[in-house]
């Protein structure tokens, strides 16, 4: 296994490299460059980096202005401030006019850990996917985050990317071919289909490998694009897996990947649906492993839920 890396850093490594070639990329940050990962960009391209201070609303508003004069601005903070504090600016000054602004929310989910519930964003995917014109990305690991930086740049329009604080093993490679709006098949199997996003894809992947030794073969779809959602791939794969689907996400159970999957399966017969997500409660302080256990985000829980699905 390789070195553990966090997707928040991977994303900006990808963007920093891309910016050598693309001079229209500019990055804004609200006084958290070392936290969000944008420090790498600041070091490489200081002339195209702006720290606007602790003012997420103005950061997004300025990005709308920069997009209007021809830049491709990326701006970020912790997800709770990027998607939350600045929400209505994103809605009315970015999504409504459909401007080419990219919002990068780091520290998605409960693994902001020690900072506690105020800083653990469990609702960003829900609020961002509810916005017309908005594309929503959620890489599973550092490699994928780096690849999504290019995809984000190449997409002309408003876009939100959620990255994670927690370093993990990479389960994808820089050579993987991924496409905006298309589910990524990580494992072939037929007993059940795991549909996951973000760091939960890494955890579910480990669980699926263990289940395999028990003779349970999991198909696994990693959803790096939450919106537009690849309903067709999900329907097809779940149908092939006898209607058994397990959704795993580090997000509230309301409004995230689970809802997107459930909606895509409406009308299909014989669906068995399990969902690992935050059960509509806020996060709290704790060590990462403690929190993951307390909120059911473990490979053991994934394996248990998978076995329960197969037992029926």
């Amino acid at each position: 296994m390789g070195e553990k890396k966090a997707s928040r850093f991977g994303f900006y490594l990808g963007l920093t490299e891309l910016a050598d070639e693309h001079r229209d990329i500019i990055v804004l940050d609200a006084d958290l460059p070392k936290t969000t990962g944008s420090e790498a960009f600041r070091k490489a391209h200081p002339e195209r980096f702006l720290n606007v201070g602790i003012s997420e609303q103005n950061m997004v508003g300025m990005c709308a202005g920069l997009a209007r004069v021809g830049y491709v601005p990326f701006c970020g903070s912790m997800a709770v401030f990027a998607a939350g504090r600045a929400f209505e600016i994103i809605r009315n000054s970015v999504a409504y006019p459909s401007l080419n602004v990219k919002i990068v929310g780091s520290h998605g989910g409960i693994t902001a850990a020690g900072d506690g519930g105020t800083h653990q964003c469990i609702e960003d995917l829900a609020i961002m996917r509810a916005l017309p014109n908005m594309v929503v990305l959620s890489p599973c690991d550092s490699n994928q985050a780096a690849k999504l930086a290019k995809i984000a740049y190449e997409h002309d329009g408003p876009l939100y990317v959620r990255t994670s604080r927690e370093p993990t093993e990479d389960i994808t490679t820089m050579d993987d071919e991924i496409e905006l709006g298309k589910a990524q098949k990580l494992l072939d199997g037929e007993d059940l289909c795991i549909v996951s996003t973000g760091m939960m894809s890494v955890i579910a992947y480990e669980a699926a490998k263990e289940l395999q030794t028990d003779g349970i073969s999991c198909s696994m779809l990693n959803i790096h694009t939450i919106k537009p959602f690849d309903s067709e791939a999900v329907r097809k794969e779940v149908a092939r897996c006898h209607g058994r689907v397990l959704v795993a996400e580090e997000h509230n159970c309301i409004g995230g990947l689970g809802d997107a999957v459930a909606r895509s399966l409406v009308g299909m017969d014989g669906i068995s649906f399990e969902h690992i997500a935050v059960e509509d409660r806020f996060g709290q302080s704790g060590a990462t492993a403690e929190l993951l256990a307390a909120y059911g985000m473990t490979k053991e829980n994934v394996a248990d839920k998978a076995r329960a699905l197969i037992k029926g």
Binding site: Q57, G61, G65, S93
Partner: protein, 267 residues
């Protein structure tokens, strides 16, 4: 255009606003009238409207949309007939300016305060590119109660955006009353100076003050113009009354408004 020409333009713009809002059955007359002279000065005298380095205008007080629509129709940027379709389904003249639906709108606005921030982003980007274009943003005074304005002001002075001019339509009234009774704005010129602007206060209905103020630049500093204005300016019974923020004249008031603006009411 000379001052008498600008006065005539502003009068015509006010009449067009009245036409449009009455036809639509809703819209904001008071704040459109208070800003009419400033907007006339920008579009008929001060701004460079064509070419790659054309100036940009952000109507951050987006509810004064009929005023900018009147300009766009008059300049032929939008078909004049669209003036009959303010707030209508499918119209370029949405209730608040929509840059995707209406040509000539540099920024969608309507949610107060955001236009200021977008204008700061535009000015920052243009300056970074070495463009000579200038960015003008018009805000209401009540609008400055939104915190994002002050975040944006800090950024503008920090980045030394001397290609930005903020104009405050200081009519001292907001939807539900007097700004100073609701959430006092106080000495805006002093506040702007404290935020690092080159600021001045002018009579927002006097073209001989408006034009030089809009043209003035301060090296290394953004500009801030507190334009003292009268809400409902041009129709005596509307002047300085907050009720005319969003209300429409009725009955005899309609003919009276046209008469005072020197227009004809076709009923």
């Amino acid at each position: 255009m000379d001052v008498s020409g600008l006065k005539e333009k502003a009068r015509q713009l006010r009449l067009d606003v009245l036409d449009m809002v009455l036809k639509a059955g809703s819209g904001h007359i008071g704040g459109s009238f208070s800003a009419a002279d400033i907007v006339a000065a920008l579009y008929y005298s001060v701004m460079k409207l064509d070419g790659e380095d054309r100036d940009l205008f952000v109507l951050s007080k987006g509810h004064a949309a009929p005023l900018i629509y009147a300009v766009l129709a008059d300049r032929g940027i939008v078909d004049r007939r669209e003036k009959d379709r303010l707030r209508a389904y499918g119209s370029p003249f949405q209730g608040h300016p929509d840059s995707n639906k209406c040509p000539g709108i540099d920024c969608s606005t309507g949610s107060l305060g955001q236009g200021v921030s977008v204008a700061v982003g535009m000015a920052y980007g243009l300056k970074a590119k070495g463009s000579s274009a200038h960015v003008y943003v018009l805000t209401g005074d009540g609008e400055l109660q939104e915190g994002i304005c002050w975040e944006a002001f800090m950024a503008a002075s920090q980045q030394m955006l001397d290609n930005l001019t903020v104009i405050v339509d200081r009519n001292r009234l907001q939807l539900s009353g007097c700004t100073e009774d609701i959430e006092a704005l106080g000495d805006l010129r002093a506040k702007a100076e404290a935020f690092g602007f080159d600021a001045e206060e002018i009579d927002g209905h006097d073209f001989s003050a408006i034009i030089p103020a809009l043209q003035r630049r301060a090296e290394g500093k953004p500009r801030f113009i507190v334009a003292d204005t009268v809400k409902g300016k041009g129709v005596s019974y509307m002047e300085n009354r907050y009720e005319w923020h969003g209300n429409l004249p009725k009955g005899d008031q309609i003919a009276e408004a046209y008469k005072e603006l020197g227009g004809r009411y076709d009923g």
